[in-house]
Structure formats: structure tokens, C-alpha cells
């Protein structure tokens, strides 16, 4: 206790530096903890160690060129970042991607969500001391990385979504691979659940820990699973559907207590819903165009360039000058695995963005950490950080 009896000098608190290089801070996050014994009196996060000036970099790149930079924000869910940026540019251009393009985007966005949640579950369990879950989760994540590799040749930073559609159509046999993964995934989920959901050690470490009330969560701008674990039914896919999410049937899992355990349950349930959406998308896939039919936005097929003068000119213009976007500003939110990822784009009529800003969900969610850990033990800090599912690449941008 700080204070103490009259006449006795108050017990001094100890300041502990947790991070920036600490395995449980999920990257380079530094927390300055003021401790009274093992109890956290005050927690001050220090961020910025991974600041790479992505927003500044985007200002000097043409619209299409900026997409690979966004992969590096939330590097566990690169396609979600691509999606936010390309949707914002498409909104400013006033174009809509054809149905097949949108369906593929939804399917991959949901696989990305599963992939991101798998890393969260594995590392979160590892932080609390359950080693085997990590190995199982990475086994399934590997399958999704293989799917990424099949579509783009890249396992992580795939930059598969482009303004106006996709970089290429799905390779032959891709649907079967997705189908095979989705078929086995529920059994895998059951395996994780068997290890954790009713495990007494897990319950002790997560139930009633890092609790945040509904009102505080809203006031602090929490979004995604962390907000829904407090019982707030806000999901951008339902509230403001994009890419045709209004055509899919899925539920928004909600928690009640807003503690570490509820955040765990919400994310597990979300993986089931993502699987549901992805299999619906798989059924909806019809042959058709994947890109908008505008040669000023989408490069022509390679074969055409050799035969058509016009295609050659379009190709040259696209790769030397790019396209121009009418002046204005848009804010495009999407439901990324971590929460509301918003892309704010301001254009001045040129071929580069005038200003791009990302409302990074991890950045906002991390702000709630001091409130969640105050008065709790140091060991709980580790559990709470894991349950917030932060990625420092996105926080520092």
C-alpha cells in the first residue's frame, strides 16, 4: 500500500521497465510499470520503436505503388490492410469491383482473419504458459500461408488486392485447397478448445482479468473483438457492409464481462464465423471478370500488349504515370481482425495521395491497457497484452 501509518515514511514503489525487447510484448513495446510489490500501480506504454513512416511514404508513391507498404502495417493480416487502402481509393474513384472480384476478396479477407486469430491464440496461450497450442495454431496457419503463396507467390506480404480488383485470378485448383482447409478446420478448433476452454489453469489466468466496462470501452475507442467482448455489437461488416458482406450470413459473437476470457471466447467464435463466410464465398464463386473494365485503371493482359497498340499505351501510361483520382477525401473503415481499420485518404487530383492516414485498431486498443492492468499483478499484464491482440507494426506505422 502506498501511504502507510502516520509517522512512518510511505513505502516507495518500484519502477520496472518491461520491454522493448520482451517476448510477451508482441514486438517492440515498452511498458514502464510502477509497482507496489507485485501489484501494478501505474502503467505507461511507450511506442514508436517500429515507426517506419508508412503514411509519409505513401504520399510519395503512386496509388498502386503504395499497396505493398500497407502489407507491413499489420503483418499478420496483410490482405486486410490492402483491402482498406484499395477500398478507399475505389471509393474516391467512384468504382465498384465486379462480383467475382468482391467474392474472392471476402473469402481471402476471412482466411486472413483466421490466420491472424491463429497467431493471436498461439502466442496468447504461449504467454500464459500453454506451449502446445502454439504448435497446433502454427500448423494450421501454415496451410493458409500456402494458400497465400498459391495466389501471389508470396507467403506473407502478398499485396494481392489492387485498385480495381485483384492482381490475377485464382490459380487452378485453388478452390479445392480452400475447401479442404475449411473442411478440417472445425476439428482443429475443437482441439484448441479441448486444451484451453475448460482448463482450470487457463480459467484462473483469464477469468475476471483485465476487465473493462462497456462504457469505458466505447469512450476509449476500443473496436473489434475487444469491444465485442464487452457486449457492444459493433462490427463494420454488419454496420456498414463493404465488398458485399451484406450478402453473407454470419453472426457477430459477443461477450459479456469484457475480461481476457471473453475476448478469448469471442475470437474463437469469430474463427467459426469466418469459416462460415469463407465457405459461402466459395459457393458463390462464379466465373466472370475480377477487375473493373477500365483500361485506365487496370493493366491489360500481357498477351494483349503484344498485339494491340492501345493496350501497349495503356500499359505504359499505367506504369509510368499511374492514374489520377479526383480531388476530395474519404474515410473507409473495414473490420480487420484487430478491429476497425480505417483508411483516410485525401486526394488533390494528382496521381499520388495527398495524405493517407490509417486508423490502426491496435493503436487505439493499446490505449486501454493501463486501465485494464491497474491494480492487477505483473503476470496479468502479460495475459492482458495477449488478449488485446496488438501488432506493433500497425501501432507505429
Amino acid at each position: 500500500m502506498v501511504g502507510g501509518r502516520a509517522g512512518v515514511s510511505p513505502i516507495r514503489t518500484m519502477t520496472l521497465n518491461m520491454g522493448p525487447q520482451h517476448p510477451s510484448t508482441h514486438g517492440v513495446l515498452r511498458l514502464v510499470l510502477e509497482l507496489d510489490g507485485e501489484v501494478v500501480v501505474k502503467c505507461t506504454p511507450h511506442i514508436g520503436y517500429l515507426h517506419t513512416g508508412i503514411e509519409k511514404g505513401l504520399e510519395s508513391k503512386r496509388f498502386q505503388q503504395g499497396i505493398p507498404l500497407t502489407d507491413r502495417m499489420d503483418y499478420l493480416a496483410p490482405l486486410s490492410n490492402n483491402l482498406a487502402l484499395v477500398l478507399a481509393i475505389e471509393k474516391a474513384l467512384g468504382i465498384t469491383v465486379p462480383e467475382r472480384g468482391q467474392t474472392i476478396r471476402v473469402m481471402l479477407a476471412e482466411l486472413t482473419r483466421i490466420k491472424s486469430h491463429l497467431v493471436w491464440l498461439g502466442t496468447h496461450a504461449l504467454d500464459i504458459g500453454a506451449m502446445s497450442v502454439f504448435l497446433y495454431c502454427f500448423r494450421e496457419r501454415e496451410q493458409i500461408l500456402d494458400l497465400y503463396e498459391a495466389i501471389s507467390g508470396q507467403r506473407m506480404m502478398s499485396s494481392y488486392f489492387r485498385v480495381g480488383g485483384l492482381v490475377a485470378d485464382l490459380p487452378p485448383g485453388f478452390e479445392d485447397k480452400v475447401y479442404a482447409f475449411l473442411e478440417t478446420f472445425p476439428d482443429r478448433l475443437a482441439e484448441y478448445e479441448a486444451l484451453l476452454t475448460k482448463n482450470p489453469l487457463w480459467l484462473q489466468r483469464t477469468m475476471g482479468i483485465g476487465t473493462i466496462s462497456r462504457d469505458d470501452a466505447i469512450a476509449l475507442g476500443l473496436s473489434g473483438p475487444s469491444l465485442r467482448a464487452c457486449g457492444v455489437p459493433y462490427d463494420v461488416r454488419k454496420a456498414h457492409p463493404y465488398s458485399g458482406y451484406e450478402r453473407y450470413q454470419f453472426d457477430v459473437p459477443l461477450g459479456k464481462n469484457g475480461d481476457v476470457y471473453d475476448r478469448y471466447m469471442v475470437r474463437l467464435a469469430e474463427m467459426r464465423q469466418s469459416r462460415r463466410i469463407a465457405s459461402q464465398a466459395l459457393q458463390r464463386l462464379q466465373p466472370g471478370p475480377i477487375n473493373v473494365a477500365d483500361p485506365k485503371l487496370v493493366p491489360p493482359p500481357k498477351q494483349l500488349i503484344k498485339r494491340s497498340m492501345e493496350a501497349l499505351i495503356h500499359h505504359f501510361k499505367l506504369y509510368s504515370e499511374g492514374f489520377h483520382v479526383p480531388p476530395g477525401e474519404v474515410y473507409q473503415p473495414i473490420e480487420a481482425p484487430k478491429g476497425e481499420l480505417g483508411a483516410y485518404l485525401m486526394t488533390d487530383g494528382g496521381n499520388k495521395p495527398y495524405r493517407v492516414h490509417f486508423r490502426a485498431p491496435s493503436f487505439v486498443n493499446l490505449q486501454a491497457l493501463p486501465k485494464m492492468v491497474q491494480g492487477r499483478l505483473v503476470a496479468d499484464v502479460v495475459a492482458v497484452i495477449g488478449s488485446l491482440d496488438i501488432v506493433l507494426g500497425e501501432i507505429d506505422r
Partner: protein, 179 residues
């Protein structure tokens, strides 16, 4: 027009109608304070004079018809390279109403050194966002509880997202690296 396109259009219409209600309420309440209103791509932007910002924010949060209880984002723009570049900085607020599912964008414009009132008292989440704007653009926030740099080191010189800041590294810092 396919069924899909029709559905997209009707959704956007509903949204546009709902947003006009927000504008109507704002005009009734503040009239002169709205310097500029622009609707583009179904998004509403309202430009305010800096002194009016806190009371407009409070009204938007507390009015039972509007309830903008969720501050999604705060960011800045350096208008130096825009045709109209004075005042130089713009602070942009993206508000969201969870019960009504509406969005609105507020803006205030200030010149170099001029402060903007903080909205941390209205939405605590503004704390880090405002620190980021301060760090990246050098716009101070009056009444902010903890106005420090957030992404750059405390002793960094300059504000990286300003348009006159070089895209490559700050020359000063590179110069000081030991050989």
C-alpha cells in the same frame, strides 16, 4: 442495373438521408459556426472555427438524436501544397454513432503555432490521437493532459508529416551518426 447495384445505391441513399438529419440539427443549433459543409461520396464534412470545436463535440455526443459516442479517429493534414494553403493545418475528427450507425467528419483549421482545444474531455480516446497529431504536425492541443511526442523520440527535431519535411531521413540525425 443488376440487383446488386440497386441494393448498393439504396443503401447509400438511406445513409445520405440520415446524414442530412445530422446537418439539420447542427444548423439549428450552431448556424453561423459551420464554416463549410461538403458532402462527397456520401460522406459529410463540416469545417468549424477552432473555438467552437468543444461545444459542437459535446452537443454531438450528448444530443439524444445524434449520440456520436465513438470517436473513431483524429488526424491532421498539412495543406501547404494545396491550392488554398492558409490556414496551414487541418485537424480532422471522424465521429461515429454506435446506436444510429452514422458517421460525420469534423475539421478545424489552424496556422503554425495556433492551438486547438483538446477533446479528451469528451472522448478519452482522443488522448493518443492528439499526441500523434502533435508529434507529426506540431499542432499543439490546449488542455491536453499529457501532450508529449508519441512515435518519434522526445528530442526529435521537426514534424515528419509536414509537407516541407524531407521524405528521406532528417539530415540532422544522419549527420550526427558516428563514423
Amino acid at each position: 442495373m443488376s440487383e446488386f447495384e440497386a441494393r448498393v445505391e439504396s443503401r447509400e441513399e438511406v445513409q445520405a438521408m440520415a446524414e442530412s438529419l445530422v446537418l439539420q440539427r447542427l444548423r439549428e443549433q450552431f448556424g453561423q459556426a459551420l464554416l463549410e459543409v461538403r458532402v462527397w461520396r456520401n460522406e459529410t464534412t463540416v469545417v468549424l472555427a477552432p473555438p467552437d470545436l468543444p461545444r459542437v463535440c459535446r452537443f454531438l455526443r450528448d444530443d439524444p438524436d445524434l449520440v456520436f459516442d465513438f470517436l473513431a479517429d483524429v488526424t491532421g493534414v498539412d495543406r501547404l501544397r494545396l491550392p488554398e494553403s492558409s490556414p496551414r493545418f487541418e485537424v480532422v475528427y471522424h465521429l461515429y454513432s454506435l446506436p444510429h450507425r452514422r458517421r460525420i467528419r469534423l475539421k478545424v483549421r489552424v496556422d503554425e503555432g495556433q492551438a486547438v482545444s483538446t477533446v479528451t474531455g469528451v472522448w478519452p480516446t482522443a488522448n493518443w490521437h492528439e499526441r500523434e497529431v502533435y508529434d507529426m504536425f506540431g499542432v499543439p492541443f490546449e488542455g491536453h493532459p499529457d501532450l508529449r511526442r508519441i512515435l518519434m523520440p522526445d528530442d526529435w527535431e521537426g514534424h515528419p508529416l509536414r509537407k516541407d519535411y524531407p521524405v528521406e531521413a532528417s539530415p540532422k540525425w544522419w549527420g550526427e551518426e558516428p563514423a
